[in-house]
Amino acid sequence: MTTTKTPTVATRKLTYVKAFNEGLAQAMREDENVFVAGEDVAGYGGVFRMFDNLLDEFGPRRMIDTPISEAALVGLGVGAAARGLRPVVDLMFMDFIGVCLDQIVNQAAKMKYMFGGALSVPLTITTASGAGLGAAAQHSQSLEAWLAHVPGLKVVMPSDAYTAKGLTVSAIRDDNPVVVMLNKVLLGSTSEVPEEIYGIPLGQAHTARQGSDVTVIALGRMVGEALAAADELAAEGVEIEVIDPRTVQPLDTETMFASVRRTNRVLVVHEAVTFGGLGAEIAAQIQDAVFDYLDAPVLRIGAPFSPVPFSPVLEKAYVPDRARIAQGCRRLLERS
């Protein structure tokens, strides 16, 4: 006798950027109050094709091309969110947040608090972060630590197509301001993505690979590098556990602590500059909570204290990669 099962997960693969686009479109279909505003998002479909075809389906009422005015753009989102809409505003390159940081930090993040809880600010800010395209120092940064430091904001960093869709949907459904940091290098990468709309819970880490020897906590694009390093180390008989926080604010430290209790060694890796980066925060929290389980100090890997360079050879040396992660794990294991 044979049984037939309806597959709940599609086996089709989708690119990261198409997965984002699909999640956004489904969220717009789900809720009439969702609209998108940004530079080149409507007529052009976004410089990274993030918004392709959305103008055709949703029209100019819900897809709005704005002037290059990031402060007014985020402010538009704050005011509209305060009045009950669920705006998605796109900042194109993350580096541009410098020109609208007031609206993000002093307005969006604090409004609910300042209003004594009388309203919420369901604003989603999408942006592309990260190095690797030769876009140089003003178009390549990973500034998650700036944002994660601000009470009232949430920050998500999708590491693959599946999480790009699910985290975007959750960000739009969330009643708080959420910054979705898409990674530029990952835009064309593919993974299996269900066709139906789904949200990935914010604030829940995902164990991307189980292992017993070292816990590697990797943000954004570094998840893929860590998984590649894991394959390399497995050939040497070393099993590393890879944790993808997915959301860096709020940060799921419990999943990390549980892993540390099993492996006793931790490496944190991110694309951002190491100094003052989230690796420092994660290391501090681990040492505070599970110090007695550590067989070695928490190791951090990130970018050197420099703007992102242009020349490909320099940029390659700048961003952490699988080799550095594998090397870091070996160093941790050398300490008894």
Partner: protein
């Protein structure tokens, strides 16, 4: 440079306002004046924490504009926001309680003087950041149009705020999107302690509207009737879908930039202050109202008396209100 009081005659405009409007403007101005002078006394007595930016002298602007608005119209305000809140109908009790840092305050004691807001009155917040309310009002107007409502948004800002990017970005955004926003510049001649002549080379801030294709008008900001007439036109225009407009009201603050003690560094001459005080907006309106038979002195005095009673009760309420519980320190940082 001495700020010259505008010489525009307002006698003509008084005749164009109904007795009902005159009385409405008068009551709104008296409510602001008494709220502010009593708050100043409380500050001087050391009863209030934080900063206090008094609005006294500028009452004609808030009263004139707010009398042209409906309850569902939205406003964004400045760090000198008490007058706007009072004129929009926010209650004395929750305002004084907020100045005292009590849990019954408009922000549950989390905001203080510079952040009073009231969603039920369309008061989208005083704002500690100069110019930041401008794009938020644009967003509120966007939401109104998106939802098919005919409410308008009004943003108040000072002369100094028109040197900040958010003002220019917001003005252009409102203009290009054709949104129902009314821009009210309260030009009191000083950006904190710096005279207008030291921070811009133009005499009339209204000139800046032309850069965005936005009509503008200059009014005597000491004449509530003149302000009301201009605001009514601008609001009706915006409500009818004709887009944003700017009103520059030339006005003056009788107290210092902050606090009540006054001039540690005399940046305004006694003659200048006296000249403006001789055109006290409440005196002007009362004198004319009595002269032309719109109101009797006894009727006007009754407004002062009733308001004094209401304020005394509100202050007693605030002083008797409980302080916030430190156990609730994290309240309303996030939704959900």
């Amino acid at each position: 440079m001495v700020q010259k009081a505008p010489r525009k005659s307002a006698a003509k405009t008084t005749h164009q306002a109904s007795a009902q409007v005159i009385k409405d403007l008068h009551e709104r101005m008296v409510r602001i004046r008494l709220f502010e002078t009593e708050a100043g006394k409380l500050m001087e007595a050391g009863k209030l924490p934080g900063f206090l930016h008094l609005y006294v002298g500028q009452e004609a602007v808030a009263a004139g504009v707010m009398a042209a608005l409906r309850d569902d119209d939205q406003i964004t305000s400045t760090h000198r926001g008490h007058g706007h809140a009072v004129a929009k109908g926010v209650g004395f009790r929750e305002m004084y309680a907020e100045l005292y840092g009590r849990v019954t305050g408009a922000c549950l004691g989390r905001g203080g003087s510079m952040h009073i807001n009231d969603l039920t009155r369309g008061m989208l917040g005083a704002n500690g950041i100069v110019g930041a309310g401008v794009p938020i009002a644009v967003g509120a107007a966007f939401a109104a149009r998106y939802k098919g409502e005919d409410s308008v948004a009004v943003t108040f800002f000072g002369d100094g705020a028109t040197n900040i990017g958010a003002f220019h970005e917001g003005a252009n955004m409102a203009a290009i999107l054709g949104l129902p926003v009314v821009f009210i510049c309260e030009n009191n001649g000083y950006a904190e302690f710096t005279p207008q002549s030291a921070h811009m080379l133009i005499t009339d801030v209204a000139d800046r509207a032309a850069a965005y294709g936005m009509p503008s008008v200059i009014v005597d900001g000491m004449d509530a009737v003149a302000v009301h007439r201009a605001a009514t036109e601008a609001v009706e225009r915006a409500r009818a879908g004709a887009g944003p407009m700017m009103i520059e009201a030339k006005t003056y603050r009788f107290y210092d930039h902050q606090g009540v003690k006054g001039l540690r560094h005399p940046y305004r001459s006694d003659e200048e202050v006296a000249e403006w005080k001789s055109r006290d907006p409440i005196d002007l309106l009362e004198t004319r109202a009595v002269a032309d038979g719109t109101a009797t002195r006894a009727e006007l005095d009754d407004v002062w008396r009733r308001t004094r009673d209401e304020i005394a009760e509100a202050i007693a309420y605030a002083e008797a209100s409980p302080l916030p519980d430190p156990a609730d320190l994290l309240l309303n940082v996030y939704s959900g």
